[in-house]
Structures are given as structure tokens and as C-alpha cells.
Symmetry: C2
Subunit: 199 residues, 2 copies
């Protein structure tokens, strides 16, 4: 998925190590409970100097993570939209993706669903205003227009549908239930879709 990078502009392994270490720590302990020293240790580099050679400051590490995650999500949503016509199929694709990410990239999903991003990146767009989520609202709007989804405020519809999806994933991510997200996929999808589908 990140393999489109040419050798020449590879940002170095250390760069990636730092990002990965920071992502894990932010997800586990939160941004403010994570010191640069923590990141340095987890990334297995020697001193903060190495870190500052790659990033302007702590906030920039978080900013890059934010951009990577939301850009990647945006690309995936585009892909799903291209491969499916009906709103229900597009939403199903997005749900599949989110459940898979929860099982296979839980740190990413914690960043998305659990962290309070605007607390440490106040200048970034709120989640609902990012490209990926604007497109999701569009999918919902299209579903309403096509008569697939009942005619309510798209944002409210988003809250209903992804309220069910996200709170289920939060149960998994916080360890409140012990099974994998995948276990709950079909039941949760059905419930969420029925909550917004036109009868």
C-alpha cells in the first residue's frame, strides 16, 4: 500500500521507525503522556538529535501521522467508490475496511477513533471535514437520492450508521470485548444498515 515510493525519495528507514514508534505510543498513552525520550527509545535511535534531524518538532510528527492516515483513508474511499455503484455497496466496502484496520492496524484505528486529535493538532481539520469523510457524506446523500436510504439529514444519518460501527470498533480497540472485530462484522453491518435503510 505504501509501495509506490521510488527508491530515490525514500525518506530513510529511521523516518519510518520514528513515525511507527510515535503512532504506537500516542495510541497507547496519548500524545501528552508521550515524551520525545519515549519516542527515541521506542524507535531505537540514540538521541533526540536524530529525531530533530527528521522532524521539526514533536507536533510535526503527529501532523505527518495525521496526514498519512487521512490521505490513505481518502485513497481507499476513492477506490471503494470506483469499484461499487450502489451506496449500500460503497458503505459496505468502507465498513469492511474499518473492521479490517481494527484487527490488522489497531494503532491506526485508535488514532482515528480514540484519540482526541484536536487537542494536540488544533489547526488540523476536524475529522468530518477531511476529504475522506466529506466523500462518505456524499455517498450517504447519493443513497438518499437513489431511494436506498431514508430521507434524513445526511449528518444525522452518518451519526446513526457510523455510531453503530464506531462504537462497536471502540469496544474491540479498548479491550471491552475480547474477540476480534471481524467476529462482529456481519451482525454490526446489518444493524447499521438497517438503521438508515429505507424500508
Amino acid at each position: 500500500m505504501d509501495q509506490e515510493i521510488e527508491k530515490t525519495q525514500t525518506k530513510s528507514e529511521i523516518y519510518d521507525e520514528i513515525l511507527l514508534a510515535a503512532l504506537k505510543l500516542f495510541a497507547e498513552k496519548g500524545y501528552f503522556n508521550t515524551s520525545l525520550t519515549d519516542i527515541v527509545e521506542a524507535a531505537e535511535i540514540k538521541t533526540t538529535s536524530v529525531l530533530y534531524h527528521h522532524f521539526k518538532n514533536k507536533q510535526m510528527i503527529a501532523t505527518v501521522l495525521y496526514e498519512n492516515i487521512f490521505d490513505s483513508l481518502n485513497v481507499s474511499v476513492d477506490d471503494i467508490r470506483r469499484k461499487n455503484q450502489k451506496s449500500s455497496d460503497q458503505l459496505r466496502g468502507i465498513v469492511d475496511l474499518l473492521f479490517r484496520l481494527t484487527d490488522e492496524a489497531s494503532y491506526v484505528m485508535q488514532f482515528l477513533l480514540i484519540l482526541k486529535i484536536d487537542e494536540f493538532l488544533p489547526e488540523q481539520k476536524p475529522v468530518l471535514e477531511t476529504a475522506a469523510f466529506i466523500k462518505i457524506i456524499k455517498i450517504i446523500q447519493a443513497g438518499i437520492n437513489a431511494g436506498e436510504i431514508r430521507n434524513i439529514d445526511p449528518k444525522l444519518c452518518y451519526a446513526y450508521f457510523f455510531g453503530i460501527i464506531n462504537s462497536t470498533l471502540r469496544l474491540v480497540l479498548t479491550g471491552a470485548v475480547d474477540k476480534s472485530a471481524d467476529t462482529y462484522l456481519s451482525s454490526t453491518w446489518l444493524t447499521a444498515w438497517n438503521a438508515i435503510a429505507k424500508k
Copy 2:
């Protein structure tokens, strides 16, 4: 609601001012972005010494807020359980309460729904293990036993029902929609209840 306090053991007005100021600031900027100086200014007291005379440290302010809010919620849930027999009526009572709190005490609801409490109060119980929420799970279990609610894992059922409720309230609390929570009450209740009700 807080009027049961006898005059003799009133903790002084300053105590309450500090708590209220801290609640607002934590809700608006987050715990870590709020300094004791911020609280001192907002509470309209002179120095941090006054603050330290009432609270052992910053964390204790948050702890008292946490306990007040969850105790009060627990009392309300008891009250609702006493006044209603059916699970559906009890859940409806809780939903009414949460929507009212969102409109009338938004800082409290932000503390409950938006803040990542375990980041600054790591030793406190996770929300789902507090008395109030254990009782909510019991209400759901009773509804399943009575045949009112479909037979699924109570925690999953909780995620479906309150996923819809809470994500709608989050829209209001974060300003993603401009109307009051009350506007969405009946529609959201219906959707949430239908998501878990036995047909």
C-alpha cells in the same frame, strides 16, 4: 440537584468555583492544555495557593469532577429504574436525560463523551465499569430476558444503542450541527431502539 448539601458541610463557594472553572476548561481545551494558572484565572481567585488549599493537586480536581459526574449519573439511573418497569422505558429515560444534559450541561456531557478520561485519570475505572454503566448493561440484559430486546451480547447491544445516541450527541457537542440535541431526540430514540428491539 445539588441542594441536598447541609449548610454546615458546604465546601465553600470557592471550592465549587474551582471545580466549575476546571470542568469548563477541561471540556474546552483538554486536561493537558489547561494549566493551574488557567483555572486560577477562570475561577477568579488570586493565586495557586488558594487552589492548593482546596485540592491536593491538579489530578485531584479532575478526580472530584469524575466522581461527581459519575455519582450523579448513577443516582439518576437508579431513579429512572425505580420509576419505570420496562427496559424500553428505562432506556428512554436515560436517553431523555443524556439529551437534556447535552443541551443544559454541555460541559458535563463533554467530560463524559468527548474527553479521553483514562489519559489523565489512568487509575479510574473505564466508563463501562462504573456503577451507572453496569446498571445500564443490566437494563439491557433484563430487556433481552423479557423478550423486548433481541438476543445478542449485551455489550454489543450497548454499542449499537448508545453508539447511535452518543454519536448524535457528539455532533451537537462538537458543533458539527447547529441545532439543539432536543431537536433530534425523537428521531434518534426511534432509530436506536429499533436497532436493538425484537421485531
